[in-house]
């Protein structure tokens, strides 16, 4: 029975988060378009893109490491789906112990997958992109984890559901100074995880022509795209649960979700792309500093 339950949880996670993620991806495209005086695609555009990509021919480069080239998108999909399932389990079922740490580890895998995908392509531009992705990973991971420490300090627990419960009695984390700073820091770091502007160095199309994804086509590309969409929805849901009090009231929950999403889209559309060295300086400098400040405030009880 136990196994069946976990299995159904993973299936549910896949469908829920990919649906929400694809729609979030559409909202991203639509709002971006409206900000740029364009009309933007209809709501089913991302579904159509996905289906079309699935039907396209898969071309594997002659010099690619074939097994790794094809495996990495699948690993990515599995990783984000399990991440989503972990999030669902911490809300609905008996929670896994230490789930915050597992969550952080799992959230790391999509970036690693992008690195693997790039480095197994056998393309110069892809390997430049892979190198950039790794540097990006090193930059944002530090402030991200520091920022996530703040709710842990406040609630004294490393389980996501306890942190969510703590916010019912003590007010949402984002309402405190420390929580707010941590939220901003974590959101900016998450922007890097998503590979959105200003941190889209690994696929910068006008520099290295889609970089890590340059050789992908057909079904593997569809999977990589789906991975990014699921990561988007899982990440935002995590932010809502972790910092903003969760989905206890579905209506305000959806509003919170949309607010975070729109914030991400606005950051994406009002910045140019940074260089990798600038990202490293920014992350290990400003972001980490503010992260530490948030931790300090949290320890002082603000």
């Amino acid at each position: 029975m136990e196994i069946l339950r976990y299995f159904s949880l993973i299936i549910a996670s896949f469908f829920i988060f990919s649906l929400v993620g694809i729609m979030s991806g559409w909202l991203d495209r639509k709002i971006t378009a409206r900000l740029q005086w364009r009309v933007g695609p209809p709501w089913w555009q991302n579904f159509a893109d996905f289906v079309k990509l699935v039907g396209k021919e898969t071309v594997i480069p002659y010099e690619a490491n074939q097994a790794m080239f094809l495996l990495s998108p699948i690993i990515g999909i599995i990783a984000v789906t399990v991440t989503g399932a972990l999030l669902l389990s911490s809300i609905f079922f008996n929670p896994v112990k230490w789930d915050l740490f597992i969550f952080i580890y799992l959230l790391l895998i999509p970036s690693v997958v992008i690195f693997l995908a790039g480095s197994s392509s056998g393309n110069v531009l892809a390997s430049v992109g892979a190198g950039r992705e790794l540097r990006l990973l090193l930059s944002y991971e530090l402030p991200f984890i520091i920022a996530l420490l703040v709710p842990v300090i406040k609630s004294g627990s490393v389980q996501i559901y306890k942190i969510a419960d703590y916010q019912i009695t003590n007010g949402v984390n984002i309402g405190y100074i420390s929580g707010f700073i941590a939220f901003v820091v974590a959101l900016l770091a998450f922007q890097g995880k998503l590979g959105y502007v200003p941190f889209d160095v690994s696929e910068a199309e006008t520099e290295i022509a889609a970089g890590t994804f340059i050789e992908y086509s057909g079904f593997p590309l569809a999977l990589l795209k789906l991975m990014k969409w699921i990561l988007l929805s899982v990440g935002i849901s995590f932010f809502v649960i972790y910092f903003m009090g969760g989905f206890r009231n579905p209506l305000t929950g959806i509003l919170k979700y949309l607010a975070v999403l729109i914030l991400i889209i606005l950051i994406k559309n009002t910045n140019p792309r940074l260089r990798t060295d600038q990202i490293l300086k920014f992350s290990w400098g400003w972001l980490t500093m503010f992260g530490m400040l948030a931790v300090l405030f949290a320890l002082l009880g603000y």
Partner: protein, 400 residues
């Protein structure tokens, strides 16, 4: 040291045209750059020798879609220099109006593209949105959004209706605050400044060494502008100033271009005001072109555009030499790109606002000792076929 070759091109999202740059990289740092041209060669100079004088105006207009009135103005200047004539005053104003409208749209186009190359697509779309009314004006007064066909040896081909002047002024008046907002948002953006300041610096000495022209030279503090230095059209009849910056980085190039837009609006507004008063012909009728030679310049949006024509008294030019601004601007990459990262190199390449179709030349390979041509067209095709065969063999593809 092992170097990795990162190819930019021949087809790459960075370029609007087929173009090939080889970046020799050590990690992400570019240690050398190689430019390979020839993908777009159309033999315009040779074609021009087979057209008669009036047709060439339309031919040179098609050298480049963006600065499509710069070449005709420079060509007409060259032929008028040969003829030793002065065009009617009304034609002078109309030439300047068309030229400056083109500069406006070209600079806005560059700002948009530069934003796109930096991943700042909002600037891209907004700049192009603001460029749209200028194209509308063009359509209103010339009939085309591009390739205006306004220039003619001895004057201009179409008159601007005095009734249109107020509408044009109104559209330009509406454009001004938008342009100010765009300029402000580009100059004050801290992230853009972090990306562009101190990147791809060309000193005034570099500019002089390479003979670079246009906004690139002016961004490095070299105060040259053909419109002022060898006046033609109406540029000596109206008030305006040459914009210069001192730093020579990509940021200065952007600032120079954005501020030049305001100067262009100033020139157009003055010209329109004068047009209301100046009456008379818009062109002198030219019957025949006597033997002789002439040169003409024009300050295209990218710098000095130079045309040379020679006539033997027949109906066609016997020699027509064109030197587009990008031809001297592109070699500066050797100085500005080496030592920068790939991310910066892309914006440095774009910062010159290179126009490859203006620049393309055919390449002939000579033996250094005997001065004999090594390859003709036939040889190159044979070489290409052999390479294809080799590749097919390596990949195990059978011939059909």
């Amino acid at each position: 040291m092992k170097k990795v070759v990162v190819p930019l091109g021949p087809y790459h999202p960075l370029f609007e045209e087929p173009e090939y740059f080889e970046l020799y990289c050590d990690g992400e740092t570019v240690v050398d750059i190689e430019w390979k041209a020839g993908y777009n060669h159309r033999g315009i100079e040779k074609l021009s020798e087979s057209k008669h004088w009036d047709q060439v105006t339309f031919l040179v207009e098609r050298i480049c879609g963006i600065c499509s009135t710069s070449h005709p103005i420079a060509y007409c200047n060259a032929v008028e220099d040969l003829l030793k004539i002065d065009i009617p005053e009304r034609a002078k104003y109309i030439r300047s109006i068309i030229g400056e409208l083109e500069r406006l749209h070209s600079h806005l186009l560059w700002v948009g593209l530069a934003g796109h190359f930096l991943g700042y697509n909002t600037v891209f779309m907004w700049a192009w949105k603001y460029r749209e009314p200028i194209l509308d004006i063009m359509e209103m007064i010339t009939g085309n959004r591009n390739h205006y066909a306004m220039m003619k040896i001895g004057g201009v081909r179409r008159d601007i209706d005095n009734g249109d002047i107020d509408i044009i002024k109104k559209i330009l008046g509406e454009l001004k605050p938008k342009l100010e907002m765009l300029t402000g948002s580009v100059i004050d953006d801290p992230v853009l400044a972090a990306r562009l300041k101190g990147v791809g610096v060309l000193t005034a000495q570099d500019i002089k060494d390479y003979g670079a022209v246009g906004p690139i030279a002016r961004a490095s503090g070299v105060d040259i502008d053909v419109r002022r230095d060898s006046p033609h059209a109406a540029y000596d009849l109206v008030e305006w100033k040459v914009i210069t910056c001192q730093d020579g980085d990509v940021f200065s190039k952007a600032v120079v271009r954005l501020l030049e837009c305001f100067e262009s609006i100033k020139i157009i507004e003055q010209c329109l005001e004068r047009l209301k008063k100046v009456k008379g012909e818009i062109a002198i009728e030219i019957r025949e072109i006597p033997p002789g030679e002439g040169i003409g310049h024009y300050e295209a949006p990218r710098g000095e555009c130079f045309h040379y024509v020679r006539s033997d008294g027949s109906s066609r030019p016997v020699r027509h030499k064109i030197r587009a601004p990008s031809y001297v601007n592109i070699p500066t990459f050797k100085t500005s790109c080496v030592g920068e990262t790939i991310a910066d190199v892309t914006i440095i390449l774009a910062g010159v606002d290179p126009c490859y179709c203006c620049t393309e030349r055919a390449i002939t390979v000579y033996d250094a000792n005997t001065r004999k041509k090594l390859f003709n067209g036939r040889d190159l095709i044979t070489l290409s076929q052999e390479k294809t065969k080799k590749l097919k063999k390596r990949l195990g593809i059978k011939d059909e």
